[in-house]
Amino acid sequence: MKSWLLATTTAVTLSIAGSGAAIAACSPDYSKVTLTVAAQTGPYIASALKMAGDEWTKKTCGKVNVVEFPWSELYPKIVTSLTSGEDAFDVVSFAPAWTPDFADSLSEMPAAMRQGADWDDIAPVYRERLMVWNGKTLSQSMDGDVHTYTYRIDLFEDPKEKDAFKAKYGYELAIPKTWKEYTDIAEFFTRPDKNLWGTAEAFRRGGQQFWFLFSHVAAYTNHPSNPGSMFFDPDTMAAQVNNPGWVRGLEEYIRVSKLAPPNALNFSFGEVNAAVAGGQVAESIGWGDTGVIAADPKQSKIAGKVGSAILPGSNELYNYKTKQWDKFAEVVYSPFMAFGGWQTAVPATSTKKDAAWNYIQFVTSPAVSGLAAITGGTGVNPYRASHTSNLALWSKLFTDREAKEYLGAQAASIAAKNVALDMRLPGYFSYTEVLEIELSKALAGQVTPKQALDTVATEWNRLTDEFGRDKQRVAYRAAMGLAAK
């Protein structure tokens, strides 16, 4: 009897202690919550959401169901659920360009999330611009996307190459400050007989080509005195896509295509990375993935020799107001926030908003997102100061020098004073489709750069009228962080 009592007491005590431990483990307790998260088909982004979801489950006892859709299906799935008002998703992950179409159906981020060290750690270009729409913080960046420059250290520091370059161009072979220097370097290293070409960029229609053009164009059109005027006149919504700055950018982009491997007109970003990692090119531009892939000995022939820097700039920018080229004493850098990085948000229709925002906060916390950023295949690039300041975190991937340059390029780009934002506008695909077609024709030599861009401008103006010029102006100004008019 005594032993039975002892056993019973022990069992009860353990059971109470156990339940106490379970309660303590669920902090906050979302044990009755299952979140449905919409994401594009993995591994990119979806794997980061799942990986964090597993950890969030351990912490809060809530469950996360990541529903994956192919890229082409993601937008219609989200937009139809939001506009119909159905409670299909608790969290949506999406491209920043879609924000204008989703904004009315998203809930605002809780004020508690918008303060503290973790909040301040997010780079201002995301925190104050890409996550904000019409003065409200409607989404949280879970990925950073900015174009940077990649080059081969071994070629750039070879004394013979340096001497030959200086003899030919009259200045030192170094990281290019301007796009002119970038094309000189590309020309210098174009040696088809040695299976080496100058550069690789995406030129394929439907293969992210227009973001690469934008990176060139930003240097000539993102005038510091006229913020937000790269794509449209923010006052009239007149398309700027055929102004002399754009024409110069496109001419340069076409010139670059001839200094790239022979098949480059069929390159999307994947092929750019393959060309860089395969040691086929001396330099390149693109997203942060290029540096990570090129530094990985399993995927790359140039591991240990991968340098990174901010995109080249220009000391001449076109002023659309005066219709003149303005000269600057120093090079103006306009790193381009291509795509802008995946956003996460909570639809207003979700009945589990608290849990959903808590999940987002967890996914994007410095520790969890930092791990995702250095995990291959997550598609997460740096967007927090802590992502680029923690060298130890990146030492698994890079040599010290590579890490310093890579993180320095990322940090300098997103912190640049004259950073250029990507276009975010309702009907985004309609605008970019005509651009892709005309770009493709110009690259193939079927039309001149000016003809191509004139056609694009005409179509952009027609689309703006069709969608409502005033409505589009309001959206464009909001996207560019300009005050409403």
Binding site: P76, R205, P262, N266
Partner: protein
Amino acid sequence: MRNDPIKYFFIWPALLVVLGVSIFPLIYSLTTSFMSFRLVPPTPSRFVGIDNYTSLLQNPRFWNAIGTTSLIAFLSVALQYVIGFTMALALNARVPGEKLFRVGFLLPMLIAPVAVALIARQMFNPTMGPLNHLMTRLGFPNLPYLTETPWALGAIIAVEVWQWTPFVVLMLLAGLQTLPHDVYEAADIENATPWQQFWGITFPMMLPVSVAVVFVRIIESYKIIDTVFVMTGGGPGVSTETLTLFAYQEGFKKFNLGYTSALSFLFLIVITVIGVVYLAILKPYLEKYR
């Protein structure tokens, strides 16, 4: 059989299901084609009559897509038929190793078109592709297979021929194996040459099968999208853009649903016209050899 009206009562549910599944989407799509209906940016739908149709008929991109699709369809099917017939005749002649050839020839047809297109894209790669490696070894320059219009169209047609000739072989071989032997024996007695036997016996007797095979292949070729999407994305410009790829761009990138529905119906009309004309032209020959 009892003429009990109750049987109609039991048939109705099945009929309604069939109508619902097959006819409703068509009617819905036809109705949408007369509307201005955009998901991006979300705009309320409104009736626009035949505006979508007139806009499409005035759009040079639509006519370009028809031209490109027709070129790919007719050229590739013609080549598939000629090569397919030749291969079917060879296999029917019971050459040594015929069974192995038969399996080998059928393999391309069994691979998913996306995979075929990806393989082709690599084959035609100017720097890493085996085709240009061979050209370089033979002293020729690297060719822009996928980035210049004539080469890109040629590459797409070549891939179509490679993948779908086996289907033609399969159907024609089945037809050849049903031809009566006594006709050939009679021709042999008359000292008819193989060439005369082919044009006088084989080809006319195979005409019904040939008409059906070519018809199926033309209809299928008009629907081409995956190969083009993967190999060229419709470029350079829109020079290799086919009708279905154009519809995909309008429907799934711009979400211009009214316009895309009108495009689908015009596509249906184009296919129907081609089918009717094709059968009308061949009808006298079919009746002659019946």
